[in-house]
């Protein structure tokens, strides 16, 4: 692959076309230290965030109290477990609180930290409604007042992690910010819907569960479309090796696509056709698959990004011409 520098110009004497040379094959950029803990956080908080959106919808619907309660508890659970795991990923975890030392608008991680703080707090408030709502009017009111903001924050939680990864110099992460965020958001929604579908089934609210399963499948479809766009962008930039080899390939294809998309479609299809005993188990299997598949997809993206950062040819391919955009001070 050869690309010519268009902007800005090199002196005429210098070879104008990049012919794939690297510096002894050494990496240009550095991979992040992000590992499964970060993926776990992305998945967990994605589910928790989308759960608040669903909770908000449920609160507006008659008969949605049970779903809302479960969604609020799920959100609270996620916003407790996720950050605990995330703090373990810090290399100096005892300074976790410095995440709130400053508000840095250019840093998706800083924004995310404040968002998480807000979301966690709001989820705590909405959880008041879930736990004490039946006994305490105050708790109910507080929870309901918090629900709107919690849903907005939740939507943010569901997608900001894609922005976080995209705002780096890892070629794979940075290749397609918009599709990647759509992918992550849809996966968050699919995950939350699936998780709540399982909960609703366990609580015996099968009709609600079915609607959630429908939402999950719709979201999965969106995720599939978005992932096509992302993968096309990778291929267009010559980055596909990071996702078509090694662990990311397995996770993306086997996990993200087979388990995350094909399996649920099949399970729902068979389940709805078969009915009966399978009719109960197969949707549960499908929901589980959606959650796991979404997790696998995001871990695949995470690992592919780390892999890509270590490939000098990826970095050079994606920096032959500057992307348009104004200077920001």
């Amino acid at each position: 692959m050869s690309v010519t520098i268009r902007h800005p110009a090199l002196p005429p004497g210098v070879q104008q076309e990049w012919r794939g040379e690297t510096y002894h094959g050494r990496p240009v950029t550095k991979a992040s230290s992000f590992d499964w803990k970060v993926s776990f956080y992305i998945v967990t908080l994605g589910i928790a965030g989308a759960a608040q959106v669903i909770a908000a919808l449920a609160r507006t619907q008659h008969g949605g109290a049970g779903l809302a309660r479960r969604a609020r508890l799920l959100a609270l659970g996620g916003s407790i477990v996720g950050p605990l795991v995330l703090i373990r990923h810090l290399k100096t975890p005892r300074r976790w609180y410095n995440m709130l030392r400053i508000l840095r608008p250019t840093s998706p991680m800083s924004l995310g930290s404040w968002l998480l703080a807000g979301f966690g707090g709001l989820s705590g408030l909405t959880a008041l409604g879930a736990v004490f709502g039946r006994r305490s009017r105050l708790a109910r009111r507080v929870a309901d007042a918090a629900q709107g903001p919690a849903a907005v924050a939740g939507a943010g939680m569901g997608i900001y992690t894609a922005g976080l990864l995209a705002s780096t110099s890892s070629p794979v992460w940075a290749a397609a910010p918009a599709p990647l965020a759509a992918q992550f958001g849809a996966a968050s929604m699919a995950g939350a819907a699936s998780a709540l579908a399982l909960a609703q089934r366990a609580a015996g609210e099968t009709a609600s569960a079915r609607r959630l399963e429908t939402l999950a499948m719709l979201a999965t479809g969106v995720e599939l479309l978005a992932s096509r766009a992302t993968e096309r962008a990778w291929a267009a930039k010559g980055l596909e090796r990071s996702i078509t080899s090694g662990a990311p390939a397995v996770l993306n294809t086997l996990g993200g696509k087979a388990v995350g998309v094909a399996l649920p479609i099949a399970a729902h299809g068979i389940g709805r056709a078969a009915g009966g005993r399978a009719g109960a188990l197969l949707p549960e299997l499908a929901s589980l698959a959606v959650i796991l598949g979404g997790a696998a997809m995001r871990h695949a993206v995470l690992l592919a990004g780390n892999d890509s950062a270590c490939r000098p040819e990826h970095v050079f391919r994606t920096t032959q011409a500057a992307r348009p955009g104004g200077v920001r001070r």
């Binding site: 902007h7 040379e21 609160r59 779903l67 990923h89 943010g156 759509a182 929604m189 970095v315």
Partner: protein, 286 residues
Amino acid sequence: MDGGLVGPAPGGQEAELTAGTRIEPGRSYGFFTDTTLCIGCKACEVACKEWNNLPADNLGLTGHSYDNTGRLGAHTWRHVTFLETGTRATEMPPYQSNWLMMSDVCKHCDPAPCLEACPTGALFRTEFDTVVVQQDICNGCGYCVPACPFGVVELAPEDGKAHKCTLCYDRLKGGLEPACAKACPTDSIQFGVVEELVERAEARVGTLREQGQADAYLYGTPGAPGATGGLRRLNAFFLLTDRPERYNLPPAPSRPARNARPAFLSGLATMAGLALAAVAIGVGRR
């Protein structure tokens, strides 16, 4: 202190003697690394490590020409690249050629992707317009590492914090030239006020082209390769004579933070759409 044999005149700054510049808060300081003057001696690497008390990486013999420190990282804040590009030549352009050597360093970008990524404010812009990781703040989140388009920042395993060149922040506070630039035997590394350095560097390119080194160009000054994609300029910039990739530099890096907006917008739209769909499906109804 002993006698009058040492140190600058009272009230003076050593940097005036060694770099011909006074160091004052409020101005922008940086490095102009002129590879045509570089002899690949690695004095910068050693001076940096001795001053900053950095441990050896001990990568062993790499076989990559004379580069055995490999890369910039948590313990290596100056790194000299070596690439043999035409060492069978006999007549050569003036100054360094045919065996490319460049003392790489943190670019102290403006704006700085690592700084823009840092969620704690550990990374900040000093009164000298340099970019520093404050070790009493950093919590090792590691986000600055993939943010950097040049692979400069790294987490140190032993203390769990991000490290990189500080442009000798402590020395600047005391009117001392950064250790690498002070040591550099051939003044390949020049320290000073960025605007003055840029002027000097542009004049140098002109001189070199006149003297027969037609391939000289700047990397990292406004409008040049390296200062691209939202990076206005690199406060540590370079004079090169071959394609940037030969020095392991991306020819047209971009400021990664500008990916956030399209991602957020697209993500939120997706969430909103799915929420609407959920309403349509009737999620929440019993």
